[in-house]
Subunit: 164 residues, 2 copies
DNA sequence: ATCGTGTTTGTTATAATATAATGTCTTTGG
DNA sequence: CCAAAGACATTATATTATAACAAACACGAT
């Protein structure tokens, strides 16, 4: 079984976040080229906005930013771009927040598990195949064929834990 | 470690569903009495509607039913009742569907994991402490103190699997 | 019993999230 | 270059959820 990995660690502290963004955009560019998907200016910008912090971004916040860019933008503008990014495996949707985060392991298909800090909203993405498989197995025992998993854990990240 | 349990099995086939409802209402009644919570007529009716099928119910569908009852009802009517039932541990919210299902193990605190059929929408609730604990443990290794978990698996239930 | 207090419900309004439908423009492959 | 498909713009509307305040009700203390 593949080993557990931390796909996106908590990054609440200061770090060179421009590098995170640049890396994500470069990976996206390359992933899209490989799959013959069009990584348009709009999609690139939306992905950049999703990655603008290590916290989930809401669709309407992204919309506001696009408008601030001076771009003609309405809800469908954002939702279409997000759909594309979701389908391309470049972002994940956090169901319990109606919000979106950048995917930490684009290219390699995986089922992400998310840790979400109640306090600072920081999100970490991990990939624990043992859990994925255990769930799939448990489901199978009930005759259920699992195809997608939504796993979102809320709590306090290490920094907020200390300060709480 | 407590053993894995099926709290609510798939019940797509025919069964005496009135018994499911009656049982759920009786358990709710008793749980509320124990905790000195008011199980009002409205709350009882909303719980009954949540349990009306083994599929997730949406807030506005519940609202429609309340109106059909002839009751004065508006969105807050439903959301307040649902909040109460959620807090009392009598229903669960399915985040990925914005919908609600009856809790299969009220009284005993637990973290439910949900299996949701894409085809017929049937939902089963299981309680697999091994998974809950593995996730809590993985989180802990990142300094994250988990307090709630959202686990929702989509796929095909046994019946839909056969007919698909 | 009844008064005061906190809880529950009613009511109106509005916020937040998401999609439908249609037309135009752009890209791409032939 | 042209045709077809894909991407984007635009308008309207559907869906989900909460804020704010008033009225009704339930319960304990007297």
């Amino acid at each position: 079984m593949p080993k557990k990995r931390v796909l996106v660690p908590f990054k609440t502290g200061s770090h060179d976040h421009d590098r995170c963004i640049d890396l994500a955009l470069a990976e996206a560019e390359s992933a899209c080229r490989k799959q013959h998907l069009r990584f348009t200016e709009l999609r690139r910008r939306v992905l950049e906005l999703v990655w603008s912090r290590h916290i989930p971004m809401k669709a309407y916040d992204i919309l506001d930013e696009l408008c601030r860019d001076g771009r003609a933008a309405a809800p469908p503008t954002v939702y279409r771009a997000l759909d594309f990014l979701l389908t391309a495996g470049l972002v994940h949707r956090i169901e319990s927040l109606n919000a979106y985060v950048g995917c930490g392991g684009p290219g390699k298909p995986h089922i992400g598990q998310f840790l979400i800090c109640r306090q600072c909203n920081a999100v970490a993405e991990i990939d624990a195949p043992a859990i994925t498989q255990a769930l799939t197995q448990d489901a199978k025992r009930l005759g259920f064929r699992a195809d997608t998993q939504t796993i979102e854990i809320k709590g306090l990240c290490s920094e907020c834990n200390v300060s709480a």
